[in-house]
Each structure stands twice: as C-alpha cells, then as structure tokens.
Symmetry: C2
Subunit: 223 residues, 2 copies
C-alpha cells in the first residue's frame, strides 16, 4: 500500500478509512458525554475539574477526527450514525455505579482506546494516521486517577476485589465492542486485516492488549 | 497603574487580581458543567455536537485561567471556593426548561460573559489580561445557535414571546450575579473601580451592556 500516492477522499483511498475515522470520532463524542456526566459523581471540586478536563480532551479529539472526515467530504453526523448503536451498547453495559468505578473506567477505557488507536493508525493513510496519533498522545489527568484509586483502596481495602472485577469486565466488554464494530461494516475489517493481515499478528495484538491492560490494573493497585 | 512593572503574584500586584481570575475560572467551569448537561436535551446529534463543543471550549477557558492562578502560587480549588455559591445561585435561577431555552442561554450568557470579560480585562496586569482576552476570543458555535433558534421560532411563532422573556431574565440575573460577585470580596470592587473609576464610566458600561444584549436578542429573532 503506497500511502503517499493517496489524497484524502480520493477514489483510490480505501473505503474503510472514512468508516474507521467515523467510529473513532463517535467513540470520542460518547466518551465526552459519559465523562461529563460522571464528573457529577465527583466527591469534590478537584475531582470535577480532573474528570471535566478529561471530558473536554475527548471532545477536542472528536473535533480533530471530525475534521479528517470533513476533509474527505463526509458529513460527520451521517458518517457516524451507523456506529452509534454499538458504542451506546458498550457504555450501557459499562455504566459506573459510583465514583471509583467511573475513575477506573476512565483510566482503563482510555488505555484500551489508546492501544486500539495505535494499532489502527497503521492501517490509515498518512494524514489520517497523524490525526489519530495526535488524539492518542492526548491523555490527560491519568496521574490524578491513579492517585485517587490507590488512595481509595488504601482507605478501604474491601474495594479492591469489586474494582478488580470491574476492570476485567471493562476489558472483555471493550473487546466485544471492537468485534461488534468490525462486524458493522465489511470495509472496516477489510482495511484492518489487509494492512495487518497475518493471523499471528492479530493474535499477538490481543495478547499484548491483555499485557498492557494488566500493567494498567497494577498501576491502579488492582488485579 | 504601571502594569509593566508588576510580575505575576508579586507583592505589588493588586489583591483583586487573583480574586478576579478565580471568579472567572469558576464561571467557566460552571458553564462547562451546565452546557455538558444541557447537551443531553439536544433533539439530534448535530445539537449534541454543537453544545458539546461549546462546553469543551469553556473547560479549555477554565484551564487557561487556572494556569494564571497557578502562576500566582494560588491553588485553583481554594481560590475559587468563595465564588461557588453565587455562581451556583445564578445557574439555579436560570436553569433552562427545554432545548430552546438552553440555546438562548448559551448564546446570551456567552455574550454577556464576553462583555464583562472585555471590561474586566482592562483592570488586569498584562499577562492576566492577555489570558482573559484569549478566553474572550474563543466563542464557538454561535452560528449554530442563531440558526437553530431562528428556525424554531419560524416553525412555531408562539415560541417568540416566552423566549424573549427568558432572554430578558438572563440579562437581569447576570447583572444580579455580577453585583453579588462584587459584594463577595472587597478587593474585587476595589480593583475594578480603581482602574475604571469614574461613575459615568460604570453607568456607560451598563448602558452599552444593554445595547449589546439587545443586538444579540435581535440576532436570535427575539425582542
């Protein structure tokens, strides 16, 4: 695949590119809305600020991805519509019941998204890939989350076990979501499997996903 | 007042400066939280995106003002705490009951805030003034609001009268809020009245505030 030869939205661009940008964009918008809502659970102003900042970052990420779609002549609302149900299902399945679950979801969800993004960026043409990598780099406030979750567990060790289960559920639901997204549009799996085709590669990706997830759980004092 | 001679947080900086930055910062944070909540009222995805973007802009503004406070050795949570009750009261008094009221509040509230900001910026030392002017310049999505409100009134002319009353209430509640804020801390009124002291100046400001408010109401097809 010669990426350099392609211009955004040109007829030789793989049809999966806009689908991929659209699913990432809607994912960011949904993350913004969820985090903004969850910041209301914060027990104090510092928590409201930290989670509010995370939410605003997701919205900024949405805007960057929407700009990539517009560059390709796509209407962001029409392009993202097919992916709304699957992403809404993911959030409905993983709605935090309390502030600590919200923090763990923000941290673990952000990390998993970053892992998927860095894998996906390889399948994209240069300009879209750059935008996705920029989004990827923009993870704020993770120190705040780590400190708060560790402090909560230290103060109340009984939290460790339910939060560990919660973290595991987030991983399995994220993988389910990724599979559902791929099943939504043929051109998506075509794009990803074409550019990163060999099966050992895919297996390796899911293995490294689990390794990095375990590292993040350890960082939070879980697992 | 020789602004150039002053460095942020130095002992010769007027004590009202941090108070002013703090009230602006908390105002932006509260606006973020309110807009994020109101984006849930949106009847469609385009509305969710537009109001979500406005919310994220407020959060970015908060971060810029918080940086100015930190530059002065102030803890943003401690600095903003005194102003939370008055700003919360303003939002409690002006909670939109529906999507159109939310749009009008976003547009009118943003405009009033910008008017206050540009007045206030004159009372601040150079670096803080620059930050406030940057915040001021960052008003996004107002075309969207104007289009939507005008379309709603065209579709249903009976909306004009209640939305006009709503717009008037927003102006009077904003002025009440400004007065309450000034009453919260002596150094605030000292700063503003020192730098812009003459009473005709103050009267002129409130008059021009009403003129600009009327212009914005006309832009929305109200009044």
């Amino acid at each position: 695949m010669s990426e350099q030869a392609r211009t955004p939205g040109s007829t030789d661009e793989h049809p999966g590119v806009t689908a991929l940008l659209a699913v990432l964009a809607y994912g960011e918008l949904a993350a913004f809305e969820r985090l903004a809502k969850e910041s209301e659970m914060a027990p104090d102003l510092r928590g409201r600020i930290a989670v509010g900042s995370m939410a605003a970052t997701q919205m900024r990420n949405f805007e960057k991805l929407a700009a990539q779609l517009e560059l390709r002549g796509e209407d962001v609302v029409e392009a993202t519509a097919p992916f709304q149900p699957v992403i809404s299902r993911y959030h409905a399945r993983t709605t935090p019941r309390n502030w600590n679950e919200a923090l763990v979801k923000a941290y673990i969800g952000d990390g998993l998204a970053a892992d998927f993004y860095s894998e996906i960026a390889r399948a994209l043409p240069a300009d879209a890939s750059a935008a996705v990598r920029e989004v990827l780099a923009d993870t704020s406030e993770s120190d705040f989350v780590v400190d708060r979750v560790r402090a909560a567990i230290t103060a109340n060790p009984a939290l460790r076990s339910p939060l560990t289960l919660w973290g595991r559920r987030l991983l399995s639901d994220a993988i389910t979501q990724a599979q559902e997204v791929l099943a939504t549009r043929d051109e998506l799996s075509a794009l990803i499997f074409e550019s990163d085709a060999d099966l050992p590669g895919i297996a390796q990706f899911f293995e490294s996903l689990q390794t990095r997830h375990a590292e993040r759980m350890t960082a939070l004092g879980l697992g």
